[in-house]
Every structure is written in structure tokens, then in C-alpha cells.
């Protein structure tokens, strides 16, 4: 029909709104994708390696082999996301042409451009980007991101950075809401944020797009914590398939995300889970290994 319009801001942001309260899981093949779907994931992120393996392998991390992305898309009926390097226009266009449902312009991969993120508005496929504070969140929205996530520190199984980033964004949102409009331009300058995005935050009292937690979620209690702090949903990277019992971790994290204030249930879900992924203390992480600082 003639009046059908695709790729609008509403359908791009709306897709993320449908994911709210859900868990998006990193997978590296069709078997893992099936396990994730079976456990109740709302989407899967198709990757060549989960972040902790990317960390261990070192070198340049790039977009996944197309055959892996296709294999995962073939295997499941839930949405499939995939990552591109920051600023890599062609990786993004390739994933879009494959029909991937969402693209993560991700600091987990080695950036292709150390000055500019993608101009995401001309794409039909929507993008999710990481943020540590409101300035970064607003810049990504200004570039056309339709969904945000905290950066956290990927592949560490340590929730502390994701907590810091989520709290920071929210406290800055609260401050904007209580500001007078004549203070906003200077705040925009200080945060390095587009004025229009801050104005929208002030008027609506929230970010104009969905904001998930990511980067360090390893247990059902971690997922529930991020929901408690106000995340719209949760990404779990290495936390599931680096645990001893992926099926059980996946199911339990999904349920803990929905019932994040039912502490008795979370207690039940945390019983006999087996070992979670081995984590990394931030103090032992070298500055050059911090993925969250790979962005601007």
C-alpha cells in the first residue's frame, strides 16, 4: 500500500519499547540461541565471541562472521541483534542488508573511528548504543540511537560499573527535570549534550528512548538489582554461557528480571544455580583494557 512508511523514529524506538522488562542474551551459535529463546529471552545478540572471550583473545574485535549471524537468524523467531564497531558504516550497512533487527554500535568491539560515531538516522534498522552518563546518552540520541544501554564493563561479571552508569544517568535526568529552562543551555554545554534532547528530558521527565542495563550482569540478583535501580531491561553477555549451567542461569535471570521485587522468588531462583562466571575486580583491570572508555 502506498501510505506504508518504514524506518520511522516511532517504529525504531517502539521496537525497543516492546523489549522492556526482558532479557537480551549474547549467543555465538544456533544452539545457544535456541537455549536463550527457550529460556524466555526477548532477543539474542549474535556474536563471534562473548565479551569475556574477546577480552581474553585480545587483538582487533570486529563484526561477527555473517554466517554466524545468519545461522542465529535462521534458528530463532525472536529478534536478532548484532554488533558493529563504533563508526563502521559498512559493517552496519551489511548487517542491515541481512535483515538484523537491531544493531549495537558497541565499545565491546575495537572502534573503527576514534572521532565519530555512526550517523544512525538514515538507517532503517534501529541502533542501540552504550552510555556512562547523560551527556553520552544525549549525544547518541542526537545521532539517532533508538535505544540505550549502560556500558558497564563488559566481560567482567562485575556489576559495579553498570550500577555507576545507571545511577549517574538517572541522577542527571532528575537534575534536568528540576532545572529552570534558562539553565538548560549551559547544562547542555557542560554535559556536551544536544540542547533539544535535554529539553525533551525536562518536559517528559525521562529519556526519550528505552535504557537497558549492560556490562557485568552475572546472576539473577544482578539483573534484579538493575531493574530495581530503574533499568528498562537487561543485557546479559558472558554471564549466561560462561556459567556452569547456562539453561538454568538463563531461565533464572529472565524470571528475576520480571519479578525483581519478589525477593523470596529471587532466593528460590538463586538456589543450586551452580557457579557463576568468574569475575574480574576493576582494580586489576589495566586502563587499556577498559572497554567503556573506548567511546566519546
Amino acid at each position: 500500500m502506498a501510505d506504508r512508511v518504514t524506518g520511522t523514529e516511532r517504529v525504531k524506538r517502539g521496537m525497543a519499547q516492546m523489549q522492556k522488562g526482558g532479557v537480551i542474551m549474547d549467543v555465538v551459535n544456533k544452539e545457544q540461541a535456541k537455549i536463550a529463546e527457550e529460556a524466555g529471552a526477548v532477543a539474542v545478540m549474535a556474536l563471534e565471541k562473548v565479551p569475556s572471550d574477546i577480552r581474553a583473545a585480545g587483538g582487533v574485535a570486529r563484526m561477527a562472521d555473517v554466517s554466524i549471524v545468519e545461522e542465529v537468524m535462521e534458528a530463532v523467531s525472536i529478534p536478532v541483534m548484532a554488533k558493529v564497531r563504533i563508526g563502521h558504516i559498512v559493517e552496519a550497512r551489511v548487517l542491515e542488508s541481512l535483515g538484523v533487527d537491531y544493531i549495537d554500535e558497541s565499545e565491546v568491539l575495537t572502534p573503527a573511528d576514534d572521532l565519530f560515531h555512526l550517523d544512525k538516522k538514515p538507517f532503517t534498522v534501529p541502533f542501540v548504543c552504550g552510555c556512562r552518563d547523560l551527556g553520552e546518552a544525549a549525544r547518541r540520541i542526537g545521532e539517532g540511537a533508538s535505544m540505550l544501554r549502560t556500558k558497564g564493563e563488559p566481560g567482567t561479571g562485575n556489576i559495579v560499573e553498570a550500577v555507576r552508569h545507571l545511577r549517574e544517568v538517572q541522577s542527571q535526568v532528575r537534575r534536568i527535570v528540576h532545572m529552570n529552562e534558562d539553565e538548560l543551555m549551559t547544562e547542555a554545554k557542560n554535559l556536551g549534550a544536544p540542547f533539544e534532547v535535554l529539553l525533551q528530558v525536562k518536559e517528559t521527565g525521562r529519556l526519550p528512548v528505552v535504557n537497558f542495563a549492560a556490562g557485568g550482569v552475572a546472576t539473577p540478583a544482578d539483573a534484579a538489582l538493575m531493574m530495581e535501580l530503574g533499568a528498562d531491561g537487561v543485557f546479559v553477555g558472558s554471564g549466561i554461557f560462561k556459567s556452569k549451567n547456562p539453561e538454568k542461569f538463563a531461565r533464572s535471570i529472565v524470571e528475576a528480571t520480571t519479578y525483581y521485587q519478589d525477593y523470596q522468588k529471587i532466593g528460590e531462583l538463586s538456589k543450586d544455580l551452580g557457579e557463576a562466571m568468574k569475575g574480574i575486580d576493576m582494580k586489576t583491570l589495566r586502563a587499556e583494557d577498559r572497554m567503556q572508555d573506548r567511546s566519546f
Partner: protein, 200 residues
Amino acid sequence: MSEQKYRIGILGMQGATEEHASHLQQAGHEPILIKNRELLETVDALIIPGGESTAIWRLMKKNNLVDAVKQFAQSKKPIFGTCAGLVLLGKGQVDAEQSVHLGLMDVQVKRNGFGRQRDSFEANLDVNGMKEPYPAVFIRAPYIESAGERVEVLAAYDDKIVAAKEENLIVAAFHPELTDDNRFLELFLSLVEEKPVLTV
């Protein structure tokens, strides 16, 4: 519209619950997020929101909500299913490996019938009983492949059924909660008015 204030449940497994809640509040009704069967018994009507139908289904099964919602429907209380809600209310899905459905409405559903996210679209939709077209937002949307005799088709797009009503059930393949147009919500609330619930 009635002055009466209703308690409207929103199934809270996952999905666009806040959007429905804010529309209900603006219309003067009380939204209740439903995560267990006890709370379900206290509401006048239920919305099953958009989200991922497989995820919502698995959480419903695990938490004893499948039979509870079936009983709710059998008591003739109204249910409004949008997108994933339509998939769940139907009698099954065509071409699906594993069908997730409550089997309450006599329709067969084609999940993601309009394609993947790149095919998600907005369009102005002619709806039976509405004078002006409805601004419909379709996101990885399903459609109704076939419908039983008692199902009243409310709207079709590209010759595919995208909104329908059967007794106390109403479904839309698109997302009224993502627009400011309250006409579908009003249609649903009119069902609550038709079937006043006796106070317990």
C-alpha cells in the same frame, strides 16, 4: 464515556506495560500491573501488551497465569491484546514450530507476518466504526490468517486482518499504546461498560 473508574489489569511479564498504564491514567482509570493470579482476580478487565510472545508465554506458564487468564476470559471480563497479546489470545500460529496460545479467540495467527524489524511500519488504517483513519504502528507485527464465524473483523491491511473482536475479546496487530489516539482504548473500555462486573 462513563464517569466510572475501572481497575484495568496489564499483564506484567514483559513488554510495553508503562505505555498502556499512562493511557489508562490519562483516561481516569487505575492501571494494575499483573504478575500473579491473586491480583488478576481484583481487576475489571485485562490488557495483554506488546512484547515478545514467546517470553511472555514462558513466564505465564511458569507462574500459573495461563489457566488464570483463561478463567478470567471465561468469566466474560474483557481482554484487549495488542501485537503479542493478539498472538497469545489466538488459537494457534501457522508455520510455527512451537505454538504459544491461550486459545481464547477463534483466530489463527501468522506471527511476524509482516516481516522483521526492517519491515515494521506506520500506516493510516480504516477501522470499522471509526470515521477517521487510525494511525497504526506495526512492529514485527502478526496478522490474523483466518478467523471463525463469530469473529468480527474490525480492520484489514493489505488484505490481512489486523484488528478483530469476539464477544469480550478485542485484538490489534498494531500498537495503539504508542500513539496518542485513544479510540481503541475507548472501544475496549466500552466492553467493560457493557458487562458491569459485580462487586465482590
